[in-house]
């Protein structure tokens, strides 16, 4: 396997409403990682982005985002209609061919112009689910209720995830919603999609993230603190909720086994916890105990720029390694309702 490292990264703050365009949102980040590494845009061998036309509200909106990467001279690029973390996966796989040295990966999205709860049922089954408007918030409520039914978690557990996350978010300059609030106070709030309360949901955010990948020797030349991608895998569960045990993620368990995440200590786990009960399901599937620091950034509960949120987890985990605060970390991205699709990435420091 080719050694591939993250050599530079950047993210925007999570905005409730970013009033300029999505390419503008990305352009500053692209310029930032190029400036940091001293690379020219024409030295980038491959560019891959994740975004969603339904969020942007225009067919082929992803084409405008190419402006941010520099459309001229002609750019060798690709796109996934997925979170930027899946673009990272494709970039990593592309680099395994061994013929390119650098790859720019981006994820961006503006959720503020549209209505996410009306848009996202469209990723569900078009015959049985989309016409019902069956949205991710409602599915998260059903999934949370399954946790309660099986005794795997309590509403207090959900509140504790929110309390800890929103407190951690206070030290994250890119966070959008943070608070110093106790589980007891949270439990007094009314239900929104029972057994979830409004605070169990992520905020609606606009934002973007970018990472620059480089191959072994090039990576070492570009930075003193490369963050190596030791493994990356993604799996899907059935898109029929009735065919799933919503409290388990057998696909993610397989990914974790294949990546050998438990073969060495994990210092930090950045998990794409969009709804607080998801943290309990993810920790159980990944076998993460209390010794692992979960979402020191506060996670998506403090800011959820859909289509970038998963890549932000990679950025957050990699940043901690680059700063020497962690040696080995895992980053997780999710897509679809009730954690239907999951991506897992193992990151390590060291020259």
């Amino acid at each position: 396997m080719e050694d591939v490292a993250i050599v530079a990264l950047a993210q925007t703050p999570c905005y409730r409403r970013y009033t300029d365009s999505e390419p503008s949102l990305l352009m500053g980040l692209v310029n930032q990682v190029l400036a940091e590494t001293g690379l020219e845009r024409r030295e980038i061998d491959f560019t891959i982005a994740g975004s969603c036309d339904y969020l942007s509200g225009m067919p082929f909106a992803f084409i405008s985002n190419v402006d941010a990467f520099g459309a001229w001279p002609p750019v060798y690029e690709s796109h996934v209609e997925m979170d930027g973390a899946w673009a990272l996966f494709e970039g990593f796989v592309r680099m395994q061919l061994g013929d390119i040295d650098t790859c720019l990966v981006a994820g961006s999205g503006k959720s503020s112009p549209g209505r996410p709860r009306e848009i996202f049922p469209l990723q569900a089954d078009p015959y049985y689910h989309a016409p019902l408007g069956l949205d991710p918030v409602s599915m998260a409520g059903i999934q949370a209720q399954c946790l309660l039914n099986t005794g795997k978690a309590s509403e207090r557990d959900f509140a504790e995830v929110v309390s800890r996350s929103r407190r951690d978010g206070q030290s994250n300059p890119n966070a959008q919603v943070t608070a110093d609030v106790s589980p007891d106070e949270l439990l007094k709030e009314p239900y929104y999609a029972s057994p979830l309360r409004r605070h169990d949901l992520p905020p609606i955010s606009d934002g973007a993230a970018v990472v620059l990948l480089a191959r072994g020797p090039v990576a070492r030349a570009l930075t003193k603190s490369p963050v190596w991608i030791r493994g990356i895998d993604h799996r899907m569960e059935s898109h029929h909720p009735g065919l799933r045990d919503l409290t388990a993620l057998p696909g993610l368990v397989t990914a974790a086994k294949k990546l050998g995440i438990q073969s060495a200590p994990i210092d930090v786990a950045e998990l794409c916890v969009r709804y607080s009960p998801e943290e309990i399901i993810l920790c159980s599937a990944l076998g993460l105990g209390r010794d692992v620091r979960i979402n020191p950034s506060g996670g998506p509960l403090c800011g959820h720029p859909v289509m970038a949120s998963g890549l932000v987890r990679v950025v957050e985990a990699a940043q901690r390694i680059a700063r020497g605060e962690a040696r080995r970390a895992i980053a997780h991205a999710a897509s679809g309702a009730a954690l239907q699709q999951n991506l897992l990435c193992v990151l390590e420091g060291g020259a």
Binding site: S112, L132, Y191
Partner: protein, 330 residues
């Protein structure tokens, strides 16, 4: 100066899908007031699917009547429904295992309130009077409150097609550069931006130079004259697709304003005969009277010139030779 009103628009896709023999059987059942599952290795899966979820093998079309009663396995009480939900007042989404089925169907339960819902409760299918052979033809209610009614079949033969109109609304303010461009049009002036790096002039500007990757600000704004050259055009004969408003052929032209490096696209030409229209033709924008100008149709996505320009008038100057038009970003 007050900002222009946020732009709101609706994006619609009318999807027409073939449903195949398995989903088709289920939707035919809904039309006729019956529910079906499909047999799979001794289990009954409802809603029916085409493939064995374990092996991926195609399932035989062995349909089994299920319901109309069932048990709620899990649910969420939806306090604030969206426009797309089956009910506009609070209701529950639930996983319902219908009698005779081994898997749960995700659907809506109409109940008086959250206190009427519980895991393990019995519910019963209710059919809507007007059915469209869609999953929304049915809903569920607590069994005690169910009405048993005769459901007349509303169609003949198997359902083969499903119609689903996707209709989404968006609302956002104009981007800063677009807003200044729109205000310029209202004042009868074209406002562009000059790239601080390359000196190229973009109109309308997206607020950045896409060639040099430079974000631009108000200090980069520049006013352009209302004269220019036709650099491209097409004669459109309208095809009557969903949403089409045009009926007669018309010209859409790109006009490169004097001093600009990008053309104004999609300019409407209605009163210059097609036979006379040509690339290189010199034209002048004749703005409408100030009170008649409006920029309501300008969005961040579609720039255009709103309803600010009455017409493009040939100036009578000699044509610009095409080799002088090279290098523009068309």
């Amino acid at each position: 100066m007050t900002t222009l009103a946020p732009r709101s628009y609706t994006l619609e896709y009318p999807y027409t899908r073939t449903v195949g023999p398995v989903v088709g059987r289920f939707l035919t059942g809904l039309r006729d007031g019956r529910l079906f599952g499909i047999r799979c290795r001794g289990r009954v899966i409802c809603p029916p699917i085409e493939f064995d979820p374990e092996s991926g093998e195609t399932l035989a079309h062995d349909f089994v009547p299920v319901g109309p009663g069932g048990v709620v396995e899990s649910y969420s009480w939806i306090a604030e429904p969206t426009r797309k939900h089956p009910f506009q007042e609070p209701f529950a989404f639930a996983l319902i295992r219908l009698d005779g089925a081994d898997t749960a169907l995700a659907h809506a339960v109409k109940a008086p309130g959250p206190e009427a819902m519980s895991v393990g409760m019995r519910v019963r299918a209710q059919y809507r009077d007007e059915r469209r052979s869609a999953i929304t033809d049915v809903y569920f209610v607590p069994e005690a409150g169910a009405r048993d009614s005769f459901v007349p079949a509303t169609g003949q033969g198997e359902v083969k097609i499903s119609d689903h109109l996707i209709s989404l609304v968006y609302e956002e303010p104009l981007n800063a550069a677009r807003e200044r461009y729109a205000r310029g049009l209202l004042a009868g002036v074209f406002v562009g931006q000059t790239s601080p790096k390359s000196g190229k002039v973009f109109v309308p500007s997206s607020g950045y130079d896409p060639l040099e990757r430079v974000l631009m600000t108000e200090s980069d704004d520049v006013e352009l004259p209302n004269t220019g050259t036709v650099v491209g055009y097409t004669v459109i004969t309208p095809v009557q697709y969903y949403g089409q408003k045009e009926t007669e052929p018309y010209i859409r032209a790109s006009v490169l304003l004097d001093g600009a490096d990008t053309p104004l696209g999609q300019q409407d030409i209605r009163d210059i005969p097609v036979a006379e229209f040509r690339v290189g033709m010199r034209v002048r924008a004749q703005f409408r009277p100030p009170a008649a100008r409006n920029v309501d149709e300008l969005t961040n996505r579609w720039a255009g010139t709103g309803s600010c320009i009455e017409r493009w008038v040939p100036t009578g100057e000699p044509d610009v030779p095409s080799d002088q038009l090279k290098g523009g970003m068309f």
